[in-house]
Each structure stands twice: as structure tokens, then as C-alpha cells.
């Protein structure tokens, strides 16, 4: 292809030498490379979390089992919690946001790429530190290491310090990525990409980034206090010396509750992209969905004391937390309503992303409806700290991060690799996972609600009516893990062997489908003018319009105004 005469031509003497692939990835500040590092890292840690979950479930398969020692069980529990939250759920969500949002807004990169790069590798460093804990002693302080169990007096080894360093570095990394995303979404939108035209998933990215800018520093402060308490004779959380153990609970629950909301906002944001495209209809009401996502971030995080109903906290605060938790029914209900209304009357193509999206909606609704029970103060006094709450949390977060994350993975995989994930294996994986989550966690609902089986315990006693529930739950956990592994295998196989996907694999309406698959390092050569919230549909209509005019017989053509 030669340049038209009269235009300046850029001459270069070859391309810079090609570096090795891992050097390329390790030094890249491109949001797509970093997004893939985040997503791949998240799935790697998901695998580790599953191993830990299965070991714990094996221990709890029969009463008074001695498969794991109490200390080993507590270590598995603590590592599982930290891995699932800090090393899987948040980086997975951020990975997709970081990869997709700049493409969706028509940016050629991010605003502060080196900050995002630092953030990504801080997350990897955090994960490495948490697991290098195996070289000395991992933490055994629990999913949320409550003061004063986490203090130097009760756990004098290095485990809690490693936990604090790991989660602290990862959280710092997430905050840095969030800063980059906020700056990118504010400053680098394509011409015409007004906020009101921003795709829902990019809105979710903006909301989650702002949320992380609020809750991330809160957790960093708490972790810093913990490190000071443990290593420099601090008294922040020492109840007898003027500090307060409840301070840790408040600060950490703000973060954990915010994270819970972040995962669900991510999942619903992705689902709100998938559902309209695969129903070939616009989202029923964009404004309502986006407003609801923002409301969830604010109201949901304000409900942090929902986790502290049994603590010595005034009843007024508990009612405040309950009001906030119950108020979440409105935004979540509105989103579910709009998703269902979008599907209604649509031309629904039941492809893998929509299958996983439907599974995510079902699982999230079961989890959230159970949380409605738990947030009723008096019911919380009975059900919290039982396996009923384990089941509720897992339905909502496995529904959000795993089902929702897999929906996002199947959806954007063609964009990332240029290939579609195998549909057959995806279906097998989905139905196995759906069976698995029901068999694994419904019995725990019953064990907690009927018999009051407590959480986090390394064993349960026979003749308490929970033997069968726990055995079934263990089997279900293995089924769930098998289903999850199928999708991971599917993703690995499809990277090279999947059916080639076009640049617009699904007929999506947002700008990422305008880029090549996989996108060029600079994302776009040219950008269309954005004139609505569905820029690609505008282009398709313009093309259809033009070709229809070209096909029309001469003489019939109308003058174009």
C-alpha cells in the first residue's frame, strides 16, 4: 500500500528489536498487558484458594475428623480468606476494568500507566509474600484477623505480620490502579463520549475505583496500626491500655463490606453489557442501572456494622446498619428488574457468557436474599457466626466473582485473544458449577439455620444433627471446584485452539469491539465520533443505510438532505 502522493511519509529503519515475551510483559505499562497479569494472577490464586477450601471441606467431611490439625486448619482458613478477597476477587474485577474500560471509552492508553504498573506488581508482590509465609509460619488468625487474637501476645510468630504486609501491599496496589482508572475515565474519553454515554461496565469501573479510593486507605490505616501494635508496642487495638479492639472491627469491616459491594458491582456491570448485546436490545433503562450501582457502593459500604451485631455496640448503630443493608433491596432489585426487562421481548442468544450471567444473577439473588435475613438485627443474633452466613457470603461472592467473573471472561476473551472460548466445555463447566454451588452451600444454610453449626471451626461434633449436611457440602465443594477448573482449562486451551473470533465477536455496542482482536498496543488507529451510548450500532446503521442506498436502482434515489 503506497501513501497518496503529496502526503508526508514517515520512514523508519526497521522495528526495535523484539524482546523476550516475559521481559515484555514484566516491563509493560500497557493497560492490556497489566489487565491480563491481574486476571491471570487472580485465576492462579483462585486455584490455590480452591485447594485450601477443599482441604478444609475434607477436614469437615466427618465429625471430629483428625485429617488436619487445628493449627493447620486455622492457617488454611486464614490463607483462604486472604486469597479469595485480596488475591482473587478484587484483582479479577480490577483486571477486567483495567483491560476493558480504556477500550470502552476510546482511550489509547491509561492516564497514569506507570502507576497502574506499580499497582499490578504490588498485588503480585503481596501474593508472593502471603505464600512465602509457608517458609516460616502462615497466619492463623482467621479470615478477618480480629484484635486481639492478631496481637503479638496471642500469635507471636511472623504469620500475622506476613498477612499484614501482603494484604497491605496488595491493597496499596489496588488503590494505585484505582487512581489510574479514575484519571483515565475522567480525562481520556474519546470525543463525544460524555458520561451519559459511557458504557455501564465503564461506569462500574469508575464507581468501583472511587469506592476503592475510600475503603482502600481505611484498610491500609488499619493494617498499619496492626503492624505498629505488633512490632512497635502500639496500643491501637489493646483494650486494657486505652485502645479498642472494636476499632479494628470497624475499620476492617468497612473494607470487607465495601469489597463485597465492589465484587457485585463488577459482576452486575459486566452482566449489564452481556445481556443487552445477546438479547439484541438496549439496556431497559441505563440511568436506573448506573444510579443503582452507585447507590450500592454508598449504601452497601455504610452497612459495615451489619457484621458487628453481637459486639458491644449500641442498638441504634445496629438499626442504622440494618436500615442500610435492607435499603440495598431497592438498587439490587431495580438492577435485576432492568436486566430481566431487557431480556423480555429480545432475540436471546443463549451463548456461554449469558449462561454464566444468568447463573451469577441466580446465585447473587440467593446470597443477597439470605443477607436480608442476616441483616435483620434479631435474626443476625441467631444466624451470624453460623454456617448459614458462610453459605450466604459464598452464594453472593462466588456468584459475583466466579460466575460473574467467568461471564466476563467468556465475553471479553475474544477481544483479548482473538479467539472464542470453547462453547461445549463452557456449558459442561457451567452446569457442573451450578450443581456444585447448590450442593456445597445449601446444606450449610440448613446446618447453620437449623442446628447452629458455628463458622471457622476445625471440627464439628457428632450427634449434633449436622453430619449429613457436612458430608454433602464436602462433595458439593469438589463438584464446584471441578466445574471451575473446567473453565480454567477451557481458557488455557482456547488461547491457541479456540475458534477465531472476529473483531466484533458478539455484535456488541460499545467501542472495545471497534478495536482489533487482540487490540493494537495503541488500541485504535482512528475513532468514530461518539453520538450515543451505542456507538457501534450507529456505525452498523450508517453502513446499512449507505449500502441500501447504493443498491437502489438509479432514478429512484432520493436526494439526501
Amino acid at each position: 500500500m503506497s501513501a497518496p502522493a503529496g502526503r508526508p511519509e514517515l520512514v523508519i529503519d526497521g522495528f526495535p528489536p523484539h524482546r523476550r515475551r516475559w521481559v515484555e510483559i514484566a516491563t509493560s505499562a500497557d493497560h492490556k498487558d497489566l489487565g491480563r497479569v491481574l486476571i491471570a494472577g487472580a485465576f492462579g490464586f483462585l486455584f490455590i484458594a480452591l485447594v485450601e477450601l477443599l482441604l478444609m471441606r475434607l477436614q469437615l467431611a466427618i465429625p471430629e475428623n483428625t485429617f488436619l490439625t487445628p493449627v493447620t486448619f486455622n492457617r488454611m482458613l486464614s490463607l483462604y480468606g486472604a486469597t479469595a478477597v485480596f488475591l482473587f476477587a478484587i484483582p479479577l474485577a480490577l483486571g477486567f476494568f483495567y483491560y476493558v474500560a480504556p477500550l470502552q471509552i476510546g482511550a489509547r492508553g491509561t492516564a497514569l500507566p506507570r502507576l497502574g504498573q506499580l499497582g499490578t506488581w504490588l498485588f503480585i508482590a503481596g501474593g508472593t509474600i502471603l505464600y512465602s509465609g509457608f517458609l516460616f509460619t502462615p497466619t492463623e488468625a482467621g479470615v478477618n484477623p480480629l484484635a486481639p487474637l492478631s496481637s503479638i501476645a496471642f500469635l507471636p510468630n511472623n504469620g500475622v505480620d506476613a498477612w499484614a504486609a501482603a494484604t497491605g501491599l496488595a491493597t496499596l496496589g489496588f488503590v494505585l490502579i484505582a487512581i489510574d482508572l479514575v484519571a483515565t475515565l475522567r480525562r481520556l474519553r474519546a470525543p463525544g463520549m460524555a458520561w451519559r454515554r459511557l458504557p455501564v461496565f465503564s461506569w462500574a469501573a469508575a464507581i468501583c475505583s472511587w469506592l476503592l479510593l475510600v475503603i482502600g486507605p481505611v484498610m491500609l490505616a488499619a493494617i498499619t496500626m496492626l503492624l505498629i501494635d505488633r512490632n512497635f508496642d502500639g496500643i491501637f487495638f489493646a483494650g486494657d491500655a486505652g485502645g479498642s479492639p472494636l476499632l479494628w472491627q470497624h475499620l476492617s469491616w468497612i473494607f470487607y463490606t465495601g469489597t463485597y459491594m465492589l465484587v457485585l458491582i463488577f459482576a452486575l456491570g459486566a452482566i449489564a453489557e452481556i445481556v443487552p448485546a445477546l438479547a439484541r436490545k438496549p439496556l431497559f433503562n441505563r440511568g436506573a442501572v448506573i444510579g443503582s450501582l452507585a447507590a450500592i457502593a454508598v449504601i452497601g459500604t455504610l452497612a459495615w456494622m451489619q457484621n458487628m451485631y453481637s459486639a458491644p455496640v449500641g442498638i441504634g448503630w445496629m438499626y442504622f446498619a440494618m436500615t442500610m443493608s435492607l435499603a440495598l433491596i431497592v438498587p439490587f432489585g431495580l438492577i435485576f428488574f432492568n436486566l430481566i426487562a431487557t431480556l423480555r421481548g429480545g432475540a436471546v442468544r443463549m451463548r456461554a457468557p449469558l449462561l454464566f450471567a444468568a447463573g451469577a444473577i441466580a446465585a447473587i439473588s440467593i446470597g443477597l436474599a439470605s443477607e436480608v435475613c442476616h441483616s435483620m438485627v434479631a435474626v443476625g443474633w441467631r444466624l451470624q457466626h453460623t454456617t448459614d452466613s458462610t453459605a450466604a457470603t459464598h452464594f453472593a461472592l462466588v456468584g459475583g466473582a466466579v460466575f460473574g467473573g467467568f461471564a466476563a471472561l467468556h465475553w471479553w476473551f475474544p477481544k483479548m485473544t482473538g479467539r472464542t472460548m470453547g462453547e461445549t466445555l463452557a456449558r459442561f463447566s457451567f452446569w457442573t458449577m451450578l450443581l456444585g454451588i447448590l450442593v456445597a452451600f445449601v446444606p450449610l444454610f440448613l446446618a447453620g439455620a437449623e442446628e447452629g453449626q458455628v463458622v471457622d471451626a476445625y471440627k464439628f461434633f457428632g450427634a449434633t444433627g449436622v453430619d449429613a449436611y457436612n458430608l454433602i457440602a464436602t462433595i458439593g465443594a469438589f463438584v464446584l471446584a471441578a466445574g471451575i477448573l473446567m473453565t480454567v482449562v477451557n481458557a488455557i486451551l482456547s488461547r491457541e485452539g479456540g475458534a477465531p473470533a472476529g473483531h466484533d465477536a458478539w455484535g456488541g455496542d460499545s467501542l472495545e469491539w471497534f478495536a482489533l482482536s487482540p487490540p493494537e498496543p495503541h488500541n485504535f488507529d482512528v475513532l468514530p465520533d461518539v453520538r450515543s451510548s451505542r456507538p457501534l450500532r450507529d456505525i452498523r446503521e450508517a453502513i446499512a443505510h449507505r449500502s441500501a442506498r447504493a443498491e437502489r436502482p438509479v432514478g429512484e434515489s432520493q436526494p439526501v438532505a
Partner: protein
């Protein structure tokens, strides 16, 4: 499990209200989803109508959801307030003093509960209380956070360092009720159980006397050993 205290009766009622509310929400979402997914399939070449919803329907749906939420919220507050009330001691119960519940200092420690009764008696692991009597446990801890959780009798409550938390209940039937600490407190956490034995006021008095005698005997023995220059 079955409620055996006025407070847990209220909790049980609210629990069923919660189950019903949750069931309504789950059926509405999953039912609606399954319906549209089964009903609307892609037809070749068909382009669905590009329908969007206006503000009116969003407001109506929000109002319906808000009304549902308000009902649950009000019911929750009503039943929670009832569950918090200090029960009155009945005619069959131990008559301690005017309207004051029987106060028992309860101490969590890794991994055992200690109960200090009035009149200097104490017991470990097993709490003995008279039937039909208002009991208040004042929860403290000597080490980490422990949750006192006997679901048949009372709402769960944390013992947190530096604070005193309170549990009130009045058992309506004699018998033994089991509980298990429900906040991770270290290695032997799962073994940190407790047992509440509800007995008649006479048996309770006898138990207290017996405990006091046993404690005094043990102390005398230690004092005797010390006086003889031996290590106990």
C-alpha cells in the same frame, strides 16, 4: 433447635418472617429470569423492538421495592425490641430481689467459660440457672474475643477486652442446652463449648451450696498443703 426463652421466641418469629421475605425475593428474581430466558429466543433475521423503559416504571418498581423494604424494616425493629426486653421472673422462678435479674459474671478465656454466681460460687464449662428466672450474664474476657452463643436461650453476644457485654434470658423449661463459642479464638476454638443446665430454684440453691462447699474444701486442702511446706 427450639426457642426456650421469651427473647428467642421473638427471634424465631422474626426468623420465619425473614425466610418468607428471602423466599419472595429469590422466587421473584429467578422466576422472572427463567421465564424470559425460556420465552424469548433469537429468531433468524428477526430484529427485536428497541424498547427502553421510561422513568415512570422505574419509579413504580422502586416504590414497590421500597415499600417491601419498609415493611421488613419495621417488623425487624418491632421484634428486635421485643427480643431485647429483660424478661420478668415468673412465679416458679428464683425470687432474687425486686425486678432485678439474677446476675452471673461470665468470663471467656482460651478456651473455656467461667461463671461466677452471686455468693462466691463459681463453675467452669457448665452454667446452672434456675428455671423461669430472669438471668443476666455480664460477659467479659481475659484474652481474645469470644462469642457466647447458646441459640435456644439467648442471642449471641461477644465478650470483648475492655468492655462488658450483656446477655439476658429466662429459660422456660428445665433441661440442658448446648452452646458453642462462635468467634475464632485460636487453636482449640472448636472445642470451646458450654452447657446450660436449667433446674428448679431449689436445685439451684443446692448446687450453689455444693459448689461453695467443694471450693472451700479445695482451698482448705491447698492452704493445708502450703502450711505443711508442700507445693500444691
Amino acid at each position: 433447635m427450639a426457642p426456650h426463652s421469651p427473647g428467642t421466641d421473638q427471634i424465631d418469629t422474626l426468623l420465619w418472617i425473614g425466610f418468607v421475605a428471602a423466599a419472595i425475593l429469590i422466587v421473584a428474581v429467578i422466576g422472572g429470569l427463567l421465564y424470559v430466558l425460556r420465552r424469548y429466543h433469537a429468531e433468524r433475521g428477526a430484529e427485536p423492538r428497541q424498547v427502553t423503559g421510561g422513568r415512570g416504571i422505574q419509579l413504580r418498581v422502586s416504590a414497590a421495592l421500597g415499600a417491601f423494604t419498609a415493611v421488613i424494616l419495621v417488623l425487624s425493629i418491632v421484634y428486635t425490641d421485643k427480643a431485647r426486653e429483660t424478661p420478668a421472673t415468673g412465679a416458679a422462678g428464683l425470687q432474687v430481689s425486686h425486678s432485678e435479674p439474677l446476675k452471673i459474671a461470665t468470663t471467656g478465656q482460651q478456651w473455656l467459660w467461667r461463671y461466677d454466681y452471686p455468693n462466691d460460687a463459681f463453675s467452669y464449662y457448665k452454667l446452672v440457672v434456675p428455671v423461669d428466672t430472669a438471668v443476666e450474664l455480664d460477659l467479659v474476657t481475659t484474652d481474645v474475643v469470644h462469642t457466647w452463643d447458646v441459640p435456644d436461650l439467648a442471642p449471641e453476644r461477644d465478650a470483648v477486652p475492655g468492655k462488658t457485654n450483656h446477655v439476658v434470658f429466662s429459660a422456660d423449661e428445665e433441661g440442658t442446652y448446648f452452646g458453642q463459642a462462635s468467634t475464632l479464638s485460636g487453636q482449640a476454638y472448636a472445642a470451646m463449648r458450654t452447657e446450660v443446665e436449667v433446674v428448679s430454684p431449689e436445685e439451684y440453691e443446692a448446687f450453689i451450696e455444693n459448689q461453695k462447699k467443694d471450693i472451700q474444701a479445695a482451698q482448705d486442702r491447698v492452704v493445708g498443703l502450703l502450711e505443711n511446706g508442700e507445693t500444691p
